[in-house]
Every structure is written in structure tokens, then in C-alpha cells.
């Protein structure tokens, strides 16, 4: 016999009430933990993606869309910008580095991004095997792309126009020359190649060369989500068969530039400078990410509030259960006292009951929350792609431990005090 056995015996004795209280506690803990987990991972993820990019320069449109398209890779780009405009930004003295992105095609649902190797060093990505591209039509795969598609070094694949398996560019196969190590960012889900590859794939002889601006508008009119995919259609046949060394045509286009500032001063001057150019727009990843999180945060706060409410109900239920139990248990407590138990022992036993219950609720709730988040991540592609996982610990979860135990103790406080003050003589006299 010990205090734990005694507490368990009483919890078991009123199994229905214990079960109900446990259910409420688990429900509350699970709700709060899931919100914490999702919010934490979302924030982490967003911050990880945004890290190292001070400014994104792209075509005019919605800044949020530009960031979503180029940094998070979950939206269509706002359009294209002429290469010479991009060059102007690149050469600006306030710019430490600017990495071009050219997007449009995909393979097995993964985006193909034309860029420069500097992107990898900027974002801290390392090669797991193979090498960087040395000529157009060579590709480096993100870790997840390699895993999902099973493409290995030396394998060839064909890019599909657009994201959802559009027209295949069968005449321009890519060759895998390298695979990246996992980064835990969107890089894992991208296929990288030289910018020139993207230009090369999309050039096909046209009867008359349409000006690029007109071309883009054409697509926007169509309400199509793939404005940017034709970024380079403006490249005419002169580029045909071109190699990287020959350089792009004067009216080549890219989707966006990822810019890092040279000094804090740039944060003040550069966005304005960019926005003054008729075809350019500057968007701050940090600002747009904060905006995004604020929008999502409202929903998360509502859920969190709901979880707290459930916890409060659980606390109340434990309180009511213990108070009711106490009425039934006056005799038991009296017997224990007669047997030699001190008031302190009775008090400890009651608190232990509440603690055992809330600890069980805590552990089960935490476990269930992690399990559910993992299930969520596995059943929804978007959640999985957002890098959601149940096997992560949010630091805020640690606060739940003392908080939930405190709720248990608080609920037991009044009944315990009443048990402590129980008048032995009159309780016994009543039989």
C-alpha cells in the first residue's frame, strides 16, 4: 500500500467520473497542443524560408503573391521582369547579392527553377551527391524530389509545362547531375537548373515575335495561373541552341530576384528605388511573412481560446467530481484518520488523485496531439509539403506541463481543504 495505490483505487472506484474528467482534460490539452505545434512549425518554417532574403524584386502585382511564389513556392508568380532591369538592381551598390529565379515548368508536380549556384550557398544548401550543373539542361534535385521521383544521378526527365502536368517539353530532356542534402525548406521540393535551361526549353519558333509585355498580358487575360511559365517565350530563335557562354538575348526575362542588402540603409532606399521602375515591384519577405502569420494567427488564437475553454471546463469538472466524491468519502476519511492517518496524509492523498488525473490527461493529450498532427501531415499533401510533422516539440509545450498540473491542484484545493477540516468526532458519531 502506498499513496499512489490509494489514489488509483479511488480513481478506479468512480471510473465513469474519472473517465469523463480524463476525456475533458485530454481534449483540452490536445486542442491547445495541436495549435501550439502547428503555429510553432508554421512560424519556424516561415522564418527559415525568409532567412537570408531581404527583398524580392519581381513584376508588379500583389507583394504577398510575389513572396508566396518565389520564397515559399506555393503560388503563381506575378509575372516576369526583363533581364536588363534585373541587371540594374544587381549592379546597385546597396545590393550585396541578387540571385535570379526563372520559373515555369515542373516535373512530377515539383517546380523547375532556373537560378544560379549562389542560391545554394545563400540558403545554406549542400550537395548530397553529384555536382552542380555546368551547362544548360543539367539539373540538381532537392532532397525530397529525389526521394519521391526516384530520379538518380545520370537519369533524364522531361519538364512539363506549368505545374499540373501540362504540355511536355519532350524535345529538351534534363539530366540529373546532383542531389541536395535535405534543408527543411522549400528547396527540398525544387528542381534546380541553369537559367539558360529554362530559356532554352521555352523557345520555339514563332511566326512573329510578340513583345514580352504583351505576351504577359495575354496570359493574365486568360486568367491562367501560369503567367510566369512563359517568361522566356519572348526569346526568339536567335537563342536557339545557345550555350550559357553566349549570354541571353537582350529581351530575356526572369521571374524574380532574391536580394540581400549590403547595409541597413538599403532597406530604406532600395524598395522605393525598385518600385519607381515601371515594371518592377519590391516585396519584403519578412513583412509579408509577418502579414501572413497575422492572418493565420487569428484562426490559431481562436482555436487556442477554445482549448483554454475546454481546459477550464475540465478543471471545473474535476472540482465538481472531487467535491461530490468528498461527500461520499467523509466516512472513508474518518476511518483513515482513526487508523492513524494525519490530516496532512489525507490532504496529500486528495491532491495526488487530482495530480494523477491531470498528469494522465497531460501525457495522453500531448501524445494524441502529436499523433494527430502527424496524421494530418500524412493525409494532407499541403500540410506535408509545409513540412508539418508530429515528431517535433514546440517549446511552448513545456509550459503546458506545469500549467495542467496546476489546474489539477487548483481543482483539488477546495475539496482538499474541506477534507482537512473534516470534524472527526461528529462524522464518526453519525456513523
Amino acid at each position: 500500500m502506498n499513496l499512489f495505490r490509494l489514489a488509483f483505487a479511488y480513481l478506479r472506484d468512480r471510473v465513469a467520473t474519472t473517465f469523463l474528467n480524463l476525456l475533458l482534460l485530454v481534449f483540452g490539452v490536445t486542442t491547445i497542443t495541436m495549435v501550439l505545434l502547428v503555429a510553432h512549425q508554421l512560424r519556424e518554417r516561415v522564418n527559415r524560408e525568409v532567412a537570408g532574403i531581404d527583398l524580392v524584386v519581381g513584376a508588379k502585382g500583389s507583394p504577398l503573391q510575389l513572396i508566396l511564389a518565389t520564397v515559399f513556392q506555393i503560388d503563381a508568380p506575378t509575372g516576369n521582369i526583363p533581364l536588363e532591369e534585373a541587371e540594374f538592381i544587381r549592379r546597385h551598390p546597396l545590393v550585396a547579392s541578387a540571385i535570379p529565379l526563372a520559373m515555369g515548368d515542373s516535373v512530377s508536380g515539383f517546380r523547375i527553377v532556373g537560378t544560379e549556384p549562389a542560391l545554394f550557398s545563400e540558403r545554406g544548401a549542400r550537395m548530397a551527391r553529384g555536382r552542380l550543373w555546368q551547362r544548360p539542361m543539367e539539373a540538381v534535385l532537392g532532397a525530397q524530389v529525389a526521394r519521391v521521383t526516384g530520379l538518380e544521378l545520370g537519369a533524364t526527365f522531361i519538364g512539363a509545362h506549368g505545374l499540373q502536368g501540362g504540355l511536355a517539353h519532350a524535345e529538351h530532356p534534363y539530366t540529373v547531375v546532383g542531389v541536395l542534402e535535405p534543408t527543411g525548406t522549400v528547396l527540398d521540393r525544387l528542381v534546380f537548373t541553369a537559367i539558360e535551361s529554362v530559356w532554352l526549353v521555352h523557345e520555339h519558333p514563332r511566326p512573329s515575335r510578340a513583345p514580352s509585355v504583351h505576351h504577359r498580358e495575354e496570359h493574365e487575360d486568360a486568367g491562367h495561373e501560369e503567367h510566369a511559365e512563359h517568361e522566356d517565350h519572348a526569346n526568339d530563335a536567335r537563342q536557339h541552341g545557345a550555350h550559357a557562354e553566349r549570354g541571353p538575348s537582350p529581351d530575356a526575362e526572369i521571374t524574380a530576384l532574391l536580394v540581400r542588402y549590403r547595409s541597413p540603409l538599403a532597406a530604406v532606399q532600395l524598395p522605393r528605388l525598385v518600385n519607381e521602375r515601371p515594371r518592377l515591384m519590391a516585396a519584403s519577405p519578412a513583412f509579408e511573412a509577418a502579414r501572413l502569420l497575422a492572418i493565420l494567427g487569428f484562426g490559431l488564437d481562436t482555436l487556442r481560446l477554445f482549448g483554454l475553454l475546454v481546459m477550464a471546463v475540465a478543471a471545473l469538472s474535476v472540482f465538481v467530481a472531487l467535491t461530490n466524491a468528498l461527500e461520499e468519502r467523509r466516512g472513508d476519511i474518518a476511518i483513515m484518520r482513526v487508523l492513524g492517518a494525519t490530516r496532512g496524509l489525507v490532504l496529500r492523498e486528495l491532491f495526488l488523485e487530482a495530480l494523477v488525473l491531470s498528469a494522465a490527461g497531460l501525457v495522453l493529450g500531448l501524445a494524441l496531439a502529436h499523433l494527430l498532427v502527424e496524421l494530418l501531415a500524412r493525409s494532407f499533401r499541403q500540410a506535408f509539403e509545409a513540412g508539418l510533422s508530429g515528431w517535433v516539440l514546440a517549446p511552448e509545450e513545456l509550459w503546458l506541463v506545469p500549467a495542467v498540473l496546476a489546474v489539477g491542484v487548483l481543482a483539488a484545493l477546495l475539496p482538499a481543504v474541506r477534507a482537512y477540516r473534516l470534524d472527526l468526532a461528529s462524522t464518526l458519531a453519525r456513523g
Binding site: M1, N2, R5, L6, A9, Y10, R12, D13, E328, R329, G331, D332, A334, I335, M336, R337, V338, L339, G340, A341, T342, R343, G344, L345, L424, A425, L428, A429, G431
Partner: protein, 211 residues
């Protein structure tokens, strides 16, 4: 056990007054009197569950009424066994665990063999795992007696232990109480208005309401 100049006053009324009374080790006393005469109060005073308004109570040479509460609780647990009329067992625990509880609350340990032997002595060897609601009144009272004996008390107090029982059970319980207490040399004090118990006792203390 000895009381001197004992008085218990409740709401300005003297519930109990007892000038000098002592029970030697192993002695057997019956406390009789009409209800309201203070029988239960006297037992509670002897067990340190109630404190006297005046006077002193010595159990095993120690002033139980002068001890700090926690020490009094432990002292009671170790030296006094208490049997009630109907309040028998802790509901949530099995028969065997009720016996374990008695040892646990005073910081003792008893082997399962020891406890089972105790149950056998009260004729309940096969009910060790039973719960309160599975027992008859007589069986529950036997368990209560076994539990009162777990810590080998020097003094066993019983408050109307047979009032709720039929003749056969009452006799069995009394025989059990007397046999077990004399076996361990404990004094036995029973408060009752049950006339059936008189033949077992050589000493009687009559309480007459307001004496």
C-alpha cells in the same frame, strides 16, 4: 489506561463527567448507559479523536490529550484499534488493502502472509479480494476487527460493534473480539446499549446521562 477529572462540555452542557477510571492492560470493560449519556464521546476521548474540556487521559502512560495532533494521530494508529457499529471499510479498497491501509497510514509494513493469517483468524481467509459491497454486515464487521488488530494495539475500543447484527453474528463477533484481544494482551473497552453483551464482561461502567 487511566482518566482523571475528566469532563466534556459541549454548548454549555456537560456531556460527560468521569472522576477517576482506569483499565489495566488486558482488562475488559463494558460501558453502558442510555443514548446521549456520552458513551461514544468517552470512546472518542480515549482514542484522542476528541479533546476533553477538563481532565487528563493517559494511554500506555502517555497523555494522549496533550499530544500535538499529528503525533496523536500516529499514536492512535499504533496503540489503539477502533471498531464501529456500521462504519467498516474504506469503500475503494479490497478487504486485504483495507488491512494494508491500516499499516500504511502509520508508516508500517505487514507481509501478505501476516495479513492473510489475520483474515483467517476472523474466518475470512477466502474474502481477501472482496470489496465492501460484496460483504455482509457480519463479514464487514469481522474485517473491521481484523483491521483494528493489524498494528497489534494495546487497547481496542468498540462502539456498538454488535447493534446492527443478529444474535448469531453478535455472539460470533464478541467471541472473536475477546479471543483476539486476549491473544495479543490488549485491553478491550466496548460501549453499547446491547444487553446481549453483558455476560462477557466482569467490569461495567455505567454512564447516566448528566451525572
Amino acid at each position: 489506561m487511566r482518566v482523571r477529572g475528566l469532563a466534556l462540555v459541549r454548548n454549555g452542557r456537560t456531556v460527560l463527567a468521569l472522576d477517576d477510571w482506569s483499565v489495566p492492560a488486558g482488562g475488559r470493560w463494558l460501558i453502558v448507559g442510555p443514548s446521549g449519556s456520552g458513551k461514544t464521546s468517552l470512546l472518542q476521548l480515549l482514542a484522542g479523536l476528541l479533546l476533553p474540556t477538563r481532565g487528563s487521559i493517559e494511554v500506555m502512560g502517555e497523555r494522549i490529550d496533550a499530544m500535538p495532533e499529528a503525533r496523536r494521530d500516529r499514536f492512535r494508529g499504533r496503540t489503539i484499534g477502533f471498531v464501529f457499529q456500521t462504519l467498516h471499510l474504506v469503500r475503494a479498497l479490497s478487504v486485504l488493502d483495507n488491512l494494508r491501509l491500516a499499516a500504511f497510514v502509520v508508516g508500517e509494513r505487514r507481509s501478505e502472509d501476516e495479513l492473510r493469517a489475520l483474515l483467517e483468524a476472523v474466518g475470512l481467509a477466502d474474502r481477501a479480494r472482496a470489496r465492501l459491497f460484496e460483504l455482509s454486515q457480519g463479514e464487514a464487521q469481522r474485517v473491521a476487527i481484523a483491521r483494528a488488530l493489524v498494528n497489534r494495539p494495546r487497547l481496542v475500543l468498540a462502539d456498538e460493534p454488535t447493534s446492527a447484527l443478529d444474535d448469531g453474528n453478535a455472539r460470533a463477533i464478541m467471541e472473536l473480539l475477546i479471543a483476539r484481544t486476549s491473544e495479543i494482551g490488549a485491553a478491550l473497552v466496548i460501549a453499547t446499549h446491547d444487553a446481549r453483551l453483558a455476560p462477557w464482561f466482569e467490569h461495567r461502567l455505567e454512564l447516566g446521562g448528566t451525572s
